[in-house]
């Protein structure tokens, strides 16, 4: 477990969310219980449509739960959002096409009312972090999909939030780039002691990054396993060959398989 103090950042109890659609209601989240402590790196993993994004959106106050209780930093999600308590990386890049890369990163900073210099400085710092120096003045459509996704990561980081919500941020990237960014993210987490909530489809990625892995299953979306990882905080990619790593991977895979609808 992590070596920082165990102040809970997110507390979720018996959370339920039902979408009212035209035909039948969709029970997207069912009786979710979860606590995330300060400094945790929590990964959500589970088949498509199991509610990972929805749970993340509830935490971010982009979706209202239909039952149960949730608090973020001891406040309601709405208050937390108004306090700008988190940074959110969406599943798609969501860059504004009329703004350059730099201006896109500066957008939240403008809204927060930071000084021009500070905005510029933060944009430059975070662009470097995702290996995109020199692309400041390009427009989003001049970048490849993977590069766009990296810009959106830089944008979320530039807010310098204590809580980082990331929804499949590395989905569109090839393995090498992905490995590289995994290491960068881990370094950032280790040094800044942020709390990170992370959605992924990749078991190795989840195991490599997380201090806690939440395995979910669909219809209705629920948590079927929570795996605490005792891998050291300062890990490198080599750790993926260790037996501890493979063991956790195996447990995640088993959890996934049991929650899956294919029974072959």
């Amino acid at each position: 477990m992590s070596d920082v103090d165990l102040k809970p950042v997110i507390e979720i109890e018996k959370l339920n969310l039902v979408f009212q659609t035209a035909d039948t209601p969709v029970h997207a989240l069912s009786d979710i219980d979860l606590t995330v402590n300060a400094g945790d790196f929590v990964s959500f993993i589970g088949p498509s449509g199991c509610g990972k994004t929805t749970l993340m959106r509830v935490i971010a106050d982009l979706e209202k739960p239909t039952g149960g209780h949730i608090s973020v930093n001891g406040m309601t999600p709405e208050e937390a959002r108004q306090k700008r308590a988190y940074g959110y990386v969406f599943q798609a890049p969501a860059l504004y096409p009329w703004r350059t890369v730099e201006k896109n990163i500066m957008l939240p900073l403008e809204i927060m009312g930071l000084s021009r210099e500070e905005q510029k400085a933060r944009a430059a710092r975070n662009l470097a972090m995702v290996n995109l120096e020199g692309f400041e003045k390009k427009f989003p459509w001049q970048l490849s999909g993977g590069m766009q996704q990296r810009v959106s990561i830089a944008r979320a980081l530039s807010v310098e939030p204590d809580l980082l919500l990331m929804d499949e941020p590395f989905g569109a990237l090839d393995e090498i780039t992905r490995d590289h960014l995994n290491e960068q993210l881990l370094k950032l987490w280790d040094t800044t002691k942020k709390t990170v909530i992370f959605v992924t489809h990749s078991i190795p990625e989840a195991v490599f990054l997380s201090s806690k892995i939440v395995v979910m299953s669909p219809r209705p979306g629920k948590v079927i396993d929570i795996i605490e990882s005792n891998l050291p905080r300062d890990r490198t990619l080599d750790i993926r060959e260790t037996p501890e790593f493979l063991e956790i991977s195996h447990r995640v895979r088993e959890g996934l398989r049991s929650g899956h609808s294919y029974d072959d």
């Binding site: 959002r81 969406f90 969501a94 504004y96 009329w98 957008l107 809204i111």
Partner: protein, 305 residues
């Protein structure tokens, strides 16, 4: 890879073919030929009638010649219109009441005022509709219904009513032009202001941005291409509106008055030259909007839609 020299040699026809001016030239040329033929066809009835009543011998050659030079043709030949345009655009002093430039100027000024008012009204309505649910629900059907009212038919009454409250001259014409042109702008702007997708809006929500910030940083820039697309439609409409509005003001001056006077005296050539002037004017106005669009969108790095 092919060498540049080869490209240019083999491609001179190709380039003409693929370019813009050559196709336009060809189409215009064929239209002109059709036009001349049409002029002979349409005017011949009356000419032959005349020949027969005055019992003159006539040949096809003479018929063609006469058909292209009638004083009051049913369809004037293009060169007749050009001669008339030359006479009324170049030869006349632009302050003269017989100068088309003067009349165009009169029409343009009410067009531009009407367009400006229409753009303002259109954008304001759209902003209201996007931000206030009550307006969205209650106003939209009536905005559509408003356009099914034949404004041209009630223009005379509008002029009278506005005259009653002391608005005369340019203002009533501009108001009629505004009534016609605000509609496409409202529709386009509503579409544009609503074009940001859920994700783009959610992003703003995660920053807990104020409504004003969402408007200026997201909705407004997202709507710019839509705005320009509707402005292009609207400016042509506002020209038509200004021309129409000139009729019931006593048809004193402006291209509409020229059209009407030409029509009143059966001066087909005058009608056609006023029509040509109006169309060219319309094209220039649309072109001006396109240039502005290029400038604005160029700054934001986007291309026109």
């Amino acid at each position: 890879m092919t060498k540049p020299a080869e490209i240019s040699k083999a491609g001179i026809w190709r380039r003409l073919y693929d370019g813009k001016s050559f196709p336009v030239f060809v189409v215009v040329l064929s239209l002109l030929i059709l036009w001349y033929a049409g002029a002979v066809y349409m005017n011949s009835d009356r000419l032959i009638d005349q020949y027969e009543r005055s019992k003159v011998e006539w040949s096809w050659q003479q018929l063609t010649e006469d058909a292209w030079s009638m004083e009051r043709p049913i369809l004037p030949a293009p060169q007749q219109i050009i001669v008339e345009l030359h006479k009324t655009v170049i030869d006349k002093k632009i302050t003269s009441k017989r100068s088309l430039v003067y009349h165009s100027y009169v029409t343009i000024s009410s067009t531009l005022v009407g367009f400006a008012l229409g753009a303002l009204l259109g954008v304001l309505l759209a902003v209201g509709i996007v931000h206030l649910e009550t307006l969205d629900r209650s106003l939209m059907p009536w905005i559509i219904a408003s356009q099914t009212v034949p404004i041209l038919a009630i223009a005379p009454m509008i002029i009278v009513v506005l005259g009653h409250i002391g608005l005369t001259g340019l203002v009533p014409k501009a108001i009629i032009s505004m009534y016609l042109c605000f509609f496409p702008i409202t529709i386009g702007m509503v579409k544009g202001l609503r074009s940001p997708d859920v994700l783009q809006l959610d992003l703003m929500k995660t920053y807990s941005a104020s409504a004003a910030q969402v408007f200026w940083k997201l909705r407004m820039p997202a709507s710019i291409p839509f705005l320009f697309a509707s402005l292009k439609v609207a400016i042509a409409i506002s020209l038509v509106g200004a021309i129409v509005a000139e009729l019931p003001t006593g048809a004193v001056e402006g291209l509409g008055a020229r059209l009407l006077a030409g029509s009143y005296y059966g001066q087909t050539i005058q009608i056609w030259s006023a029509l040509v002037a109006a169309s060219v004017l319309g094209m220039l106005l649309v072109w001006a909007v396109t240039i502005t669009e290029k400038l604005v969108l160029g700054r934001t790095g986007r291309e026109a839609v």
